[in-house]
Amino acid sequence: MHISEGVLRPEILAGTAFLTAGFVAAGLRRIDEKEIPAMGILSAAFFVASLVHVPAGPVSVHLVLNGLLGIILGIRAFPSILIALFLQALMFQFGGFTSLGANTLNMALPAFVCWLALGWAGKPETGSKTVGLVGFLVGFFSVFLAGVMVGLTLAMNGEAFYPAAKTAVLAHVPVMFIEGVLTSSCLLFIRQVKPEMLAGQAGKKSRW
Amino acid sequence: MDDGYGVCGMGGEGILIELRGIGYTYPGRNIPVLDGCDFTLYESERIGLIGSNGSGKTTLFHIMMGLVKPAVGTVEIFGKTMKKEKDFVKARQRIGLLFQDSDDQLFCPTVLEDVAFGPLNMGKNLGEARDIAIRTLNAVGLSGFEDRITTKLSGGEKRIAALAAVLAMEPRVLLLDEPTTGLDEVTKDRLIDILIRLDKPMIIISHEYDFLSKTTKILCSMKQGRISKNGGVHFHHHIHAHVHGDDPHKHE
């Protein structure tokens, strides 16, 4: 969920922008100039994938995939998500400019946390059952935490926003399960077809 | 008319690219795709390379460019044995490789910037790079395309623009990897026209005999990880002095 312009109080905007800038800088430091084409193409793939709508009962939801991005990119997910969100703002007017910091933090921090907790599963020796389970947890918790972050950001805006914040968290619940199932299958697919994509992050250094 | 085809070095001189005993196996496979492969490209030669899908033609090009490291064998370029990445960095500036998919090659916003990318990397200043790019675009018939967005070009325009980007580096040798894939007849003819007028030795990978017969003089085929120069049809029996280089013709 993109928080739009004009909603958050200035001190929240400034705080989240400051944190995001720090994480993005840390992420950029871990990217070698020579890796940038690869990073950009992966970011583009995620941008496109997040436009995919899947049916969820009577409505359809779009994929988030921040967890999967986190597992592949680690802390480098911050610059990647920042760019994707900025492009979504430019091309579709999602979110906006001043809320870019908050939205990036809400999406990328859960991705990074999932990588910290579960990134080890990308190692080639991990069994397929474990990868499947980890995939579900990554998809589930990255969206759950993103929902909690959106809720918290809104709640920090003042007591008046509590009901809206709670609803925003609840709205993420069906998406959590879908993302869990999806990320699980997707991780298994990548493990089978292109294991080096995962080994790059779980190991020390990626191929490029 | 001296069209540059006069020199035909046999022996040590005039050898541009020489591969000896190259062996390569794709990661995760058991059977090597290249197995004791020898190949020589002489000055002024234009070679067409055919072979079934997955026979290792593209890998061969990538080995010549140092993009893929062979398991065994030596690569010599312009008489120098290539050992390290550093050796290839220099060699790459003088060998132009056209990729199969032009979307892999064109990445700058505008055509002009993309064509100027190589010259800029070679240390040319902005003005020179611009001039070279404009001149090259004119030469391939893309004048007026300078400010066009690369993503918005048609498939044929993309291919010609990618070729211009390669030619802008003024390479001594051209390697073209299936340059006709996905092109219509008109663009194919345009490409043939450009290639015939080019005064450079080249190797062209293609599945189209007709195209190869118009652009190259020797046909090589790839089988079981090796290249045989006499294995296929000869469009032409001699590989030296060819005075008709500028106009397309047939030798029946």
Partner: protein, 253 residues
């Protein structure tokens, strides 16, 4: 299907120096973000609507651009009038809402739309690539700028691959439903998209190495600022000072 927006280069905003346009947009957005008085936001609205007018946009496109922001605004309207304590006013039958809650919702609605109007006038008149170059000129880290370029460049390539894959699935009778089969199929679709992109990334990098890439990018283009750019920017700044004056000095409404 994604489409690169065609930029109408004849409008005043389209010819406005992109660097100044970005600085103006950023200053304006930050200023409105901290404002709390409706009168001041009214002045801000005058500036942003003028900018939209100078962008030569169709009314329909402006409304379309405002839609995403307002979906969030509408979402908040469901809660804020009820969740803020204050003087209750009757709306309909037994339904009441607090005056303060409505005030807050109105304020957010105004701010969101005023800021978005300015953003639209920027986004709709600036080529994405130009925006990236302008950001580079303004000192954004070069790695981030290059990441931006590559991401944007390959969005369209990957999207067309996505459409090809999805069509291939549809041809074999795939109909999306709420089922595990659907989600697994989508997972494979996404996985395939990522794997193909990974391979493409390698090919692109190889193609760049072949053309002598060594980690440094050089740019051909530069921007030229004219006196007209200075005038537009100056007027924007003056007007923003008026906005600040109304907000913090006059303290009206």
């Amino acid at each position: 299907m994604l489409n690169e927006k065609a930029i109408d280069h004849s409008s005043l905003m389209a010819r406005f120096d992109p660097r100044l346009k970005i600085i103006g947009m950023v200053l304006f957005s930050v200023l409105v973000a901290v404002m709390e008085r409706k009168a001041a936001i009214g002045f801000a609205f005058l500036l942003s609507i003028t900018m939209v007018f100078l962008s030569g946009l169709k009314f329909r496109d402006v409304v379309k651009g405002l839609a995403p922001v307002n979906s969030m605004v509408i979402f908040l309207w469901f809660f804020l009038p009820l969740s803020v304590n204050g003087v209750d006013i009757r709306i309909l039958g037994p339904l009441t809402a607090s005056r303060e809650g409505i005030d807050l919702a109105v304020l957010i609605t105004l701010k969101a739309n005023v800021m978005m109007l300015m953003f639209i006038s920027f986004a709709a008149t600036t080529n994405v690539m130009t925006a990236g170059q302008a950001l580079a000129c303004l000192g954004l880290p070069s790695k981030l700028v290059h990441l931006f370029f590559f991401t944007y460049r390959y969005i369209f390539v990957i999207e067309s691959e996505f459409i090809t894959l999805r069509t291939a699935m549809a041809i074999r009778g795939f109909v999306p439903r709420t089922s595990v089969h659907t989600y697994r199929s989508y997972a494979y679709l996404v996985g395939m998209l990522l794997v193909r992109s990974w391979d493409r990334a390698e090919r692109v990098y190889r193609a760049m190495i072949c053309r002598g890439f060594n980690g440094t990018f050089y740019s051909l283009s530069g921007f030229a600022m004219t006196r007209k750019d200075g005038v537009i920017f100056g007027v924007m700044c003056l007007w923003m000072m008026v906005m600040g004056y109304v907000e913090w000095v006059v303290k009206a409404f």
